[in-house]
Structure formats: structure tokens, C-alpha cells
């Protein structure tokens, strides 16, 4: 069996680290060899953040290289476009349609690209969802990450119950209900 590579991208502060923890723990429980790689520090301060998750029978490198991702899970539109060169030719993109302006756009030095979803669709299989709206529906805009994990979960061979079990083990009890609802809203998206 060849390895599967999932790349999670977003903006520092969006909760990509929790998403990768849930993903990594679920895959471990499912019995795979798993490697998860992310960079802490400077990149957390509102910059682009990237997490690589690789699993299979035996994983060597923890890094996903250009053209190597089976799935890109993007927490933000522009970051999906930035990550596009990392997608395999037959890969899939799951993207939150939220727009967060980077500093060069804020200062007027650059423009936020238009029509990103269309650009992505021209080159890949794309699921675009307003995860922020779904997170609000679940009860907290902070649950965007778990909505997206729900979307991702549906595209993996791991049963739903196993994901929910990891959520129970990872999320503090007082936020569990919101997170389970956020997961369900993501999972049940068409």
C-alpha cells in the first residue's frame, strides 16, 4: 500500500494545530505508521502555516513535497491557492471560503486574488465550504477547524465513530458538544 499525504494549510491562529492533532491521533488509533510535521514559532504569528500528515505502512520523510499531497485541507482561500503546487495531479482540495487579508494586501502592496475557487477547480477536484458559517451554526467561530476535520473525515477510510472518539479524548469537556456538532456539520456536507 502506498502512503497517503494530507497537507493542512491556513493562517496562524486558525487552529490548524488542533486539527492536525485530531488527525494524527485518529490515524494512530487506526494502526497506521504516522508522521506529522509542522513548524512552531515565528510562523504562528498570523503567517501562513502548514502541517504535513503522512500515513501508511511505513513512512520515511515527515515532509510533503511539491506534487505529493493526496488531499489539501485549507482553512483559508488564498492559502489553498498557495498550496496548489503541492497537490498530486489527481488530488483533492477541501477549502474553507473564508478570506483573511495578508499584510501586503492590508498595506496595499498586493491585491487579494479574485476567483480562487474557479482557479482551483480548473486544476483539481475541489470541495469549497463556508466553514465559518457552519462553525457559527455549531455555536462558536472557533470551531472552524473541527468543521473542516469533519469534511476531511468523510474523505478517509476511517469510520466516523473513531473520529468522534478522538474528539472526545482531545477536546476539553466544556467545548465537546459544540465540537461534536461542528464535526457533524462538516461530515454531513454534500
Amino acid at each position: 500500500m502506498s502512503n497517503t499525504s494530507i497537507m493542512i494549510v491556513g493562517v496562524g491562529g486558525q487552529g490548524t494545530l488542533l486539527a492536525s492533532r485530531i488527525l494524527g491521533n485518529t490515524l494512530t488509533q487506526a494502526g497506521y505508521d504516522v508522521k506529522v510535521s509542522e513548524v512552531h514559532g515565528m510562523s504562528q504569528r498570523g503567517g501562513s502555516v502548514t502541517t504535513y500528515v503522512r500515513f501508511g505502512e511505513k513512512v520515511w520523510s515527515p515532509i510533503i513535497e511539491k506534487g505529493g499531497a493526496d488531499i489539501i485541507l485549507s482553512f483559508e482561500l488564498l492559502e489553498a491557492l498557495r498550496a496548489l503546487p503541492y497537490l498530486k495531479p489527481d488530488g483533492q482540495i477541501i477549502v474553507n471560503t473564508q478570506q483573511i487579508d495578508p499584510m501586503p494586501v492590508i498595506t496595499g502592496a498586493a491585491e487579494y486574488p479574485q476567483g480562487i475557487v474557479e482557479t482551483l477547480k480548473a486544476q483539481a477536484k475541489v470541495t469549497a465550504v463556508d466553514a465559518l458559517a457552519l462553525a457559527k451554526e455549531a455555536g462558536s467561530i472557533k470551531a472552524v477547524n473541527v468543521v473542516l476535520i469533519g469534511l476531511l473525515a468523510k474523505n478517509t477510510p476511517i469510520p466516523r465513530a473513531q473520529w468522534e472518539e478522538t474528539l472526545r479524548a482531545t477536546v476539553p469537556p466544556k467545548f465537546l458538544e459544540i465540537n461534536l456538532k461542528a464535526f457533524a456539520l462538516g461530515y454531513e456536507q454534500e
Binding site: 493562517v11 496562524g12 491562529g13 494524527g24 491521533n25 494512530t28 505508521d33 504516522v34 508522521k35 506529522v36 510535521s37 509542522e38 513548524v39 512552531h40 514559532g41 515565528m42 510562523s43 504562528q44 504569528r45 498570523g46 503567517g47 501562513s48 513512512v59 520515511w60 520523510s61 515527515p62 515532509i63 513535497e65 511539491k66 506534487g67 488564498l78 492559502e79 491557492l81 498557495r82 496548489l84 503546487p85 503541492y86 497537490l87 495531479p89 473564508q98 483573511i100 487579508d101 495578508p102 499584510m103 501586503p104 494586501v105 492590508i106 498595506t107 496595499g108 502592496a109 498586493a110 491585491e111 487579494y112 486574488p113 482557479t119 486544476q123 483539481a124 465559518l132 467561530i141
Partner: protein
């Protein structure tokens, strides 16, 4: 036990726990910080954040002499700070095992240079191990303690960012019983006067010979593969990249111990292969030694000295195979890191930019004050350099220049090595203005307590260094505390202090917006009717303020309601809204 996912740093901490380590002292530094943070979960281990790496190393050395297994952890540039005690600990040797975990940062994800720590092992004449994944992080840490006590040497454990911060599967074991060793007064070993050190140097050279012999036989250095024509010599993360790229098309000499090198094993491996590559990120460390032995290897003539390697790069160089072209994307705007919404430093840099001052900067979140639109910082060198560098600039260019110059330095960085610079300013009659950006935490590395926060690494209350009193005690008469969000007061304070004919310290005091006890609420709103579109607020470089269809708007998903923009708007067009 079932394997679990751990980042390399947490696996090093687990290894220390399983090896019976009793004392860990460090200063935070990405990508090494989580080693010491993970030690906190083991209540029987004494651990501390020291004021800087030099003190941390001295604490660990003292603990080792006192008979305990001890550890100090740092990033590559932190090793420079602790080099002085470590080089001499190489002479004294150890009592309880002593391990220095150092994390290099190829690609400079979070660092000011890309130095290669392996040179320190050779220079300090101490062995160095280098794990490739989390399981090896745990195993090699334990091996390092055995080695340290067997050879009476401090042992380096070298990580790189991808090893320190990648998670892979680890199986835990029960801790070893490593009792406190007896302490006996032994000045010939531990008092490094010239007469004693001359004798110790002889032992050090004998030890290196013994370690070279050990390197030939240890399982840390292993040959993997079965007779491929291509040989690859590598260590750490490069081994994983090489396996990913080449698989069984190559044989590997994987060095778990990168100093001293197993010269015979290396020579035998090279001679058994038609072509041998040395694949190592950063400097040609293994390669230069191989070439000095007269071995024919290919290294930096094919591989770059810069940044991180990839499997694709290795495939292209070694096999001449280029991967299929990836999907094309047009250039997209970069998204550099920025000061967070609510960051207390923003108010200070807004003022410094407005006044057009020359700013000597330092290491911390506030280094981001160099980026547009705040664009304030002129220099950043190393921890603590803002004050010494500004004194030097002032001495070079005279008092008129000094009156348009400030140093900015964080609370933790000031304690680390800024205080010595400030003493130099006082002692040598500088007139510099130093702004201590006191956000009540060590921010950039992810919120570690420090001597100014009043809490230990375990969150216990302790004496708090009073920055105001400290500045006064070294001879600064002009010391004032200002809230950087009160931009008018901040501007007035900076103007007065730079104009003064004596040195001054401004403590810009407001806690980091990400601290749990900081409770900003709601978010700000721009009243479109009152807004004259002057864009003064946009000079703050706040990630929550942006322009849509020609008008300034607040992105409520980014705004935390800190209210700084309310303070700077000249037309009172920005207001706070409750949640």
C-alpha cells in the same frame, strides 16, 4: 505499551525521564523549547527556565558534578551563549551524566542564522549523537547518558527543526534507576586552573581516541542495505529524506553518532560502493572529514549549503530523475508573520515610526516591527544586541545621532543579556534611550515564564525582578513606565527621553494579548459616516483592519477588541462594540 505520536522534543524529554535525569535547566529557543516544557510533566525532575543559556548550562554542569544526571537544552544560537562553560566542561568531564540538547534550524524557520552545531562537538572535543525521528530521540537520549558516564564527557544531542517538531510513533518504557552518585571533592578534576587543565587536556585527548574506537563498534552507526552500487552517508533527518528519495536503490551508512566519526567504517563503506554521496544539510562536516581521509565522496559539489533538502532534490541529483511537474499556480501575495491583533508592541512601533527614529532591535516577537507598515527596526543581530549596538552607533556618530536613536528589547531578552549592555551604557557615559517592551512573558517561543513574571516554569509564585528598580540600581536616573496603548503618552515619553543628555529607560508595559488573563472583548467597528478615510489606523499594521472597496473595515474574525485603533483615530470614527 501502545506506540503513541510524540514530537521529537517531547520524545527527548521522555528519554531524559526514562534515563533518570534529575535536573534540567534551559532558556527557551525555537525549535528546542518543547523539550524543557515537556519535562514539566515529570514531577520528580527539577526543571527551570534560567535567565540565559550560559546560566542554564552552568546549573546543569553543577548538577552533574553534584552527582545527578542533568540536561540543558537550547537552539543553535543558544549554544553560542553557553559555549564558554561547555568547552571547559569538556575538560572537567562529568559525575552524573550530562547532555546538551541543541536544535539547529536549517531553512531558518525561526532563527537569525543557519549555523551548524556539529562544529561545536569537534571544537569542544565532546561526542555528538543525532536522531532522525522521535523513537530515536528517545533512544539516543538514553544512549547519551550511558555514553556520558562511560566516557566521562558531556554529550551533545543534535536535533534539527524537522526532527524536533515532527511527530512520529514512540513506544515508552519505565524509567531506569539512576541513583544520585556520590559527591567527592576533586579539585584536580573540577578546578580548571592552568595546572589542572594541562593534565585534564591529556585525558580529553585520550578520551577522543577511546570514543573513536567506540564509534567503529557502536550500533548507533549502522550500514543499511544489501549491495547497491550507490552509497549514501547521512545522519538525522537527511537519512529519512534519502530513504524517501532512493529506497533500496542505495545503501546507507547512517551515523547516529556524528562526532567523533567512525573513520574505518566510513572508509570501508566508501570503498564498497561505486559512488558514495554524503548527504548532509548545512555544512560539509562529514564530507570534509571523509575527504581529509582521502575518500572519494560527492558532497557539496552537488548539494547546496543553503536551507533544507528535499527527497525530490536528492532524486534529481543522485538518480537524475526529475519528478513530474506539479500543478501550476500564478504568484500569490506572501503572508508573512505579523504582530497579533491586540499586540502591545504595536503601540510602541507606531510611535517610533511616526517619530522617524533609528531603532536597534532585538530577538522576540517585536522583531516583526521591522516589517511594513511599521518598518521601524534598523538592526537585529542576536539576543541582547540592541543596547550594545546602539551604544556603538552613538559613540561612532556622536550625541546628535544618539538623540534620534533608541534600543527596543523585550523583558525576557533584557534579563537574558540586555542588562549587561545597559551597564555598559551607564559605565561608559552613553546617553542612549532603551525601551524595554515588557509584555510580562517570553512571547515568541510560546509563553514561557521568566524572572520578570513572578512565576517559575511550574507556575509557582516566586520573587519577581523589578525592571524599574533594576534600571535604577545600575545607575539610570531617568526611568519611566508607560502604557504603549496610550500612544500620546508614549510619544511624549520617547520625545523627552531621546532629547535628554543622559541615559534613560522607558518600560513599555502591557501584557501579551494572548495571555489567558488578558480579557479583551467584543470587537471594533468603523463608523462609515464619521470615517474620513485618512488611513491613520492603517499605519498600525493590525491584521484585523483592512480595506474593502476603498473603505477601512474591521474583520471581526481577527479583531479582539483591544481598542488601539480607537485611540489613534483622529475623527473618533472607530468604536468598541460589545460581543
Amino acid at each position: 505499551m501502545k506506540p503513541q505520536l510524540l514530537i521529537g522534543n517531547a520524545a527527548v524529554a521522555r528519554g531524559a525521564y526514562e534515563a533518570g535525569v534529575r535536573v534540567v535547566a534551559s532558556y527557551p529557543g525555537t525549535p528546542s523549547t518543547e523539550i524543557t516544557e515537556s519535562i514539566v510533566q515529570y514531577p520528580d525532575i527539577y526543571c527551570e527556565w534560567a535567565p540565559n543559556e550560559k546560566v542554564a548550562a552552568e546549573v546543569a554542569i553543577g548538577a552533574s558534578i553534584g552527582g545527578a544526571r542533568a540536561m540543558t537544552c537550547c537552539k543553535h544560537v543558544g549554544l553560542n551563549v553557553m559555549a564558554d562553560p561547555i568547552f571547559t566542561a569538556g575538560y572537567t568531564g562529568v559525575n552524573g551524566g550530562l547532555v546538551i540538547a541543541v536544535a539547529d534550524d536549517p531553512g531558518m524557520h525561526s532563527s537569525q542564522n543557519e549555523q551548524d552545531s556539529r562544529h561545536y562537538a569537534e571544537a569542544a572535543k565532546c561526542p555528538m549523537l543525532e536522531p532522525a525521528d522521535s523513537a530515536e530521540c528517545l533512544a539516543y537520549t538514553k544512549a547519551a547518558y550511558a555514553l556520558s558516564e562511560r566516557f566521562d564527557a558531556p554529550v551533545f544531542l543534535r536535533l534539527t527543526t524537522r526532527v524536533a517538531h515532527s511527530q512520529s510513533l514512540v513506544t515508552l518504557s519505565e524509567p531506569e534507576d539512576a541513583p544520585l552518585k556520590d559527591y567527592r571533592k576533586d579539585p584536580a578534576k573540577y578546578v580548571m586552573t592552568p595546572a589542572n587543565a594541562i593534565r585534564r587536556h591529556v585525558s580529553v585527548e585520550e578520551r577522543t581516541l577511546a570514543l573513536k574506537a567506540f564509534a567503529e563498534e557502536t550500533e548507533l552507526n549502522q550500514v543499511i542495505g544489501s549491495g547497491a552500487k550507490i552509497g549514501v552517508v547521512c545522519a538525522g533527518i537527511s537519512y529519512l529524506y534519502a530513504q524517501e528519495a532512493l529506497g533500496d536503490q542505495a545503501d546507507y551508512l547512517k551515523l547516529g553518532m556524528v562526532w567523533p566519526l567512525p573513520e574505518k567504517k566510513l572508509s570501508d563503506f566508501v570503498q564498497a560502493h561505486e559512488t558514495t554521496y554524503v548527504i548532509e544539510q548545512l555544512d560539509p562536516f562529514i564530507e570534509d572529514h571523509a575527504k581529509a581521509l582521502g575518500l572519494r565522496v560527492i558532497g557539496k559539489e552537488a548539494f547546496t549549503l543553503l536551507g533544507e533538502y528535499t527527497a525530490a532534490m536528492i532524486r534529481a541529483i543522485v538518480l537524475g530523475v526529475n519528478d513530474a511537474p506539479a500543478p501550476k499556480a500564478s504568484p500569490v501575495p506572501v503572508r508573512p508573520p505579523v504582530m497579533c491583533a491586540g499586540c502591545p508592541h504595536r503601540g510602541t512601533f507606531y510611535v517610533l515610526k511616526k517619530l522617524g527614529l533609528t531603532v536597534c532591535g532585538d530577538i522576540g516577537c517585536y522583531t516583526l516591527g521591522a516589517a511594513p507598515p511599521l518598518s521601524s527596526i534598523d538592526t537585529t543581530v542576536c539576543m541582547g544586541a540592541s543596547i550594545g549596538a546602539a551604544l556603538g552607533m552613538a559613540k561612532a556618530r556622536g550625541p546628535e545621532f544618539a538623540k534620534k536613536l533608541v534600543s527596543v528589547i523585550g523583558d525576557s531578552t533584557f534579563i537574558h543579556s540586555g542588562i549587561t549592555g545597559l551597564i555598559d551604557v551607564v559605565y561608559n557615559k552613553g546617553i542612549n534611550t532603551v525601551i524595554i517592551l515588557d509584555n510580562s512573558i517570553t512571547g515568541m517561543t510560546g509563553h514561557q515564564d521568566n524572572p520578570t513574571t513572578g512565576k517559575t516554569i511550574r507556575g509557582e509564585a516566586t520573587k519577581q525582578v523589578d525592571l524599574e528598580l533594576l534600571a535604577k540600581a545600575v545607575g539610570i536616573s531617568r526611568v519611566r513606565v508607560v502604557d504603549p496603548f496610550d500612544v500620546k503618552a508614549m510619544e511624549a515619553a520617547v520625545k523627552e527621553e531621546v532629547a535628554a543628555d543622559e541615559p534613560s529607560v522607558i518600560i513599555a508595559q502591557r501584557p501579551c494579548a494572548l495571555l489567558k488573563y488578558v480579557k479583551y472583548s467584543g470587537h471594533c467597528r468603523v463608523d462609515a459616516d464619521a470615517c474620513r478615510n485618512c488611513r491613520v489606523c492603517m499605519k498600525l499594521g493590525c491584521p484585523a483592519l483592512t480595506v474593502r472597496e476603498g473603505r477601512v473595515v474591521v474583520d471581526p474574525t481577527q479583531c479582539n477588541g483591544c481598542g488601539l485603533c480607537v485611540n489613534v483615530c483622529p475623527f473618533h470614527a472607530i468604536t468598541k462594540e460589545a460581543e
